[in-house]
């Protein structure tokens, strides 16, 4: 099986079909991350996944092959999630409680979604990456372009909220 880095290299040298393999390899992963961050909103998760792959292709030349492609893609997906959430809040009217005025079709582990509901968007991202995907603090800090100390303090604040 070809490594991610090999597939990136081949894509850059003119073979878009190699990128198709990367898409199929990480489609479930990105979709799952999207589902967890959007509390089971399938449509938003598919949008996040799609935007992430498009952005990843756009900036493929800037990918540092010394780091794992999966981490890089995760960073892109998190940024796409933030962008989409911002747009959702701009375009959809909000009711008095600040909740979305439409009811999205939700699926998945509701216990987890209800658990992280009180967290801010940033905290949700950090909590999910750390405790569900078991990323190290340094890796999270690296892929989100934040300092390790900041990540640690945000995570402990999130844990305090959940206790």
């Amino acid at each position: 099986m070809e490594t991610d880095e090999e597939l990136v290299r081949r894509t850059l040298s003119g073979g878009n079909h190699h990128y198709g393999i990367l898409i199929q390899r990480y489609a479930d992963y990105l979709f799952g991350l999207g589902m967890r961050l959007t509390a089971g909103n399938r449509e938003l998760s598919e949008d996040i996944s799609q935007q992430s792959f498009l952005k990843s292709y756009t900036y493929l030349k800037s990918f540092d092959s010394r780091k794992p492609y999966k981490h890089w893609l995760t960073g892109i997906a998190v940024n796409c999630y933030k962008d989409l959430i911002r747009k959702e809040h701009q375009h959809l009217s909000l009711d008095a409680n600040g909740e979305l005025s439409y009811t999205p079709y939700l699926e998945g582990n509701m216990d987890f979604f209800n658990l992280i509901k009180p967290l801010t968007e940033d905290e949700k991202i950090l909590f999910t990456l750390k405790y569900v995907y078991e990323y190290q603090i340094n890796a999270i800090a690296d892929l989100l372009n934040q300092k390790s100390g900041t990540v640690k303090s945000k995570l402990s604040r999130a844990l305090e909220k959940l206790k």
């Binding site: 878009n16 979709f31 967890r36 756009t58 987890f112």
Partner: protein, 106 residues
């Protein structure tokens, strides 16, 4: 194991699946190709516009004066100057062709 850990463990075991991965991959690649084709066309249009503008300028400017200037400068220039001019012209042409053929990423 406290309730928090139980929920997290349950979530770790939950798997999410993108619907029809092959179709999804095909769709993304189509979007990429579409964007690349659009950019390529856009670049070609700009280069064509540049060339047409240059050509029109040459055609519409006073030809006799230009010819006079060309003949005078050609008669006073040496073979080395003509060679330099040819190199620059071919270089410019090569850059234009390279720009037209360059692969684009979106």
């Amino acid at each position: 194991m406290n309730p928090l850990e139980t929920i997290i463990e349950k979530e770790k075991e939950t798997s999410y699946s993108q619907r029809n991965k092959e179709l999804f991959s095909f769709y993304i690649l189509t979007l990429i190709n579409q964007e690349q084709a659009f950019r390529k066309l856009n670049r070609k249009l700009w280069i064509s516009l540049l060339l047409i503008t240059g050509g029109l300028f040459l055609l519409l400017s006073p030809t006799s004066e230009m010819m006079n200037y060309f003949i005078v400068s050609l008669s006073s220039s040496s073979m080395v100057d003509i060679f330099k001019m040819a190199v620059v012209s071919y270089g410019f042409l090569f850059v234009l062709i390279a720009l037209l053929k360059q692969r684009s990423t979106i």
